[in-house]
Symmetry: C2
Subunit: 367 residues, 2 copies
């Protein structure tokens, strides 16, 4: 049972002579884990650091949660989330065989590294891009091929020598820039391996690559309910693509990867497309206002197709400004990598949160 | 947005000339996926096939779900489930550094194959045992070393040549037998690699191996809330062991592997140990009654330390009896592997469900 062990077991590993390290795979010993954005405990903090939606999920989601029949939780969830796959197929005009759902899109990205990359192949991606990609490559224990983006983070022809998989965040993070889908198509048509178009922010963008996933045999589009649907807490991502690619991912996923409540709540969120459109419009309106205000404060602002702005302060170092904002209980994201260390990534919050941010920035500039 | 694609995109992959198969890792092409126990849609079926708990989860779990602040779901969950790890450490008298929680214990088992096995090593387990182990080994793309259990499914000294990892279900499934913890200790002390003691059913058993996980540098005990806590639907598993082993798993897990609701509901379930004890006692009492009744009907019954019985009908073939029960809307589990195809695995249901099962069996025997 849950019985406590005798207290002296806490001596446990202290006298152990045999080091456990040699039992851990060498590549895992060498690597570092992913560093998630900070989740502060204090409720007083204005949190503009992890690209969460400032608005709550659709009202139907709350109904599902609050009315949920707990007796259902005794049973295992649907292992393949069949009703949710049907619903997504209906939404995008494809077949359920084109769809897989996962425990967040992170799970699907990780599955792709195991399904589409042989041990002697490599994984390609741009720099800068989503900081999880190199970690996933380390976990998969294969080399990476990094294509540096241009000076303004613009497209460069990807280097793909020896790559089985290319991970393309579009719109990109942390830049917020979108790559034209025609350009992505040309790349996918020329590439021998599988391309993951990671569209975590697509609902905030003018263009997307869904057609590529449904027309080409080597493209998966990956999306998430974490941003536009305001449901980062439930962990629901999905991918669309050729049934053969989807079926490979299905074989190797955890048997019951998406829990019963998440399946039900995700279904309610997807059912309310009007709410999605309204929420996304509000975020985009605030994004436009924030961009203008930051430019008026002499920030360089990268044109954003996402729910965040990637900005370069010109009056002060980015790390110093990050710290000054943090002192004022405003949390944005600063990355220390050389390529992006002059920038801050600011999630688009509510209008009130953005007003508070702008007041703080003016206050800091005048101090 | 969620805009439908033009309908003619459904032509999509049909004209595609380039076969996607060659883009899928060869080992994934070769393997079969895990086959979960059937989850029938009909509510009329007495479901004794997947070892779910017949009683609902603790009342506090329902409170958490029904009162949950939906606005919290905008945000990412705690990536390392810190409060839950603290709570589990308190329950077992160890440190939070000894604990990892996962999206079901299946996730943790899969992580272990990636953290503790080099590419040129193997994974060992008994036969018969949990049917997921060979699938996880296929996914990890390493050879297996299978040790056949004795004629009555009793312990045999494991063969571990070249193994980095040994997966030991204890109590075992589908047999229901428990191996003495002293015998497990001796094996772990002699083995150079990591031993996973998969204690999915430990709360229904008289013995367990928690002390090994907290004393030895190469043992992880893995547990789940799916069975004894009646929470298969939320996906929550955990492992206890040496901080170096736990830390390796932490590095390679999905960043946000356990969703916010599951973290909160699991905490409520773990907080009510009295309810756990009461539920487990009821299941064990029904198990004893079912065992006696089945023996009176001339079944061979393997002594069970779990919430199921592994039984061999003597009047009729197991597959025929499975089918006859299914016709009567009673679902049990039959495995086709040669080693166990003469047996049925019957989950311990409520007393009413067991009475219905016994009536059906008598009815079938007299027909």
């Amino acid at each position: 049972m849950g019985a406590r062990l005798p207290f002296d077991l806490i001596r446990m590993h202290e006298q152990v002579s045999s080091p456990p390290e040699r039992r851990i795979k060498a590549s895992v010993q060498r690597m570092s884990g992913y560093v998630p954005g900070e989740q502060p405990a204090s409720a007083d903090i204005i949190k503009l650091n992890t690209n969460e939606n400032p608005y709550p999920p659709a009202p139907g989601v709350a109904d599902v949660c609050h009315d949920f029949d707990l007796d259902k939780l005794r049973q295992y969830p649907d292992p393949v989330s069949a009703p949710l796959c049907d619903q997504l197929a209906g939404l995008y005009g494809c077949h359920a065989e084109n769809v897989i759902v996962g425990n967040g899109s992170d799970e699907i990205l990780a599955l792709c590294t195991r399904a589409f990359v042989e041990d002697d192949q490599k994984i390609g991606f741009f720099d800068p891009s989503y900081s999880l990609y190199p970690i996933l490559s380390d976990i998969r224990d294969v080399p990476v091929v990094v294509t540096p983006l241009g000076d303004a983070f613009e497209w460069r022809e990807p280097v793909v020598d020896g790559c089985g998989l290319f991970m393309l965040a579009n719109p990109n993070a942390p830049s917020g820039l979108s790559i034209d889908s025609a350009r992505v198509r040309a790349f996918c048509e020329a590439f021998e391996g599988v391309v993951i178009v990671d569209e975590a922010y697509a609902e905030f963008a003018d263009d997307h690559c869904l057609a590529l996933a449904l027309e080409l045999p080597n493209v998966l589009v990956v999306r998430t309910l974490s941003k536009s649907y305001a449901l980062a807490g439930i962990r629901l991502g999905y991918a669309l693509g050729h049934p053969a690619l989807i079926s490979a991912l299905m074989k190797i996923k955890d048997s019951y990867n998406v829990n019963a409540l998440t399946q039900a709540m995700a279904s309610a969120a997807l059912a309310d497309q009007d709410y999605l459109v309204a929420t996304v419009s509000r975020v985009k309106a605030t994004r436009a206002r924030l961009q203008e205000a930051l430019q008026a404060l002499d920030f360089d602002v990268v044109p954003s197709q996402t729910n965040f702005l990637f900005v370069r302060p010109t009056h002060r170092r980015a790390d110093a400004l990050f710290a000054a904002l943090r002192e004022r209980n405003i949390l944005v994201r600063h990355f220390t990598d050389e390529r992006v260390c002059d920038y801050l990534r600011i999630s688009v919050g509510t209008d009130d949160e953005i007003d508070a941010l702008l007041r703080a920035l003016k206050d800091i500039q005048s101090s």
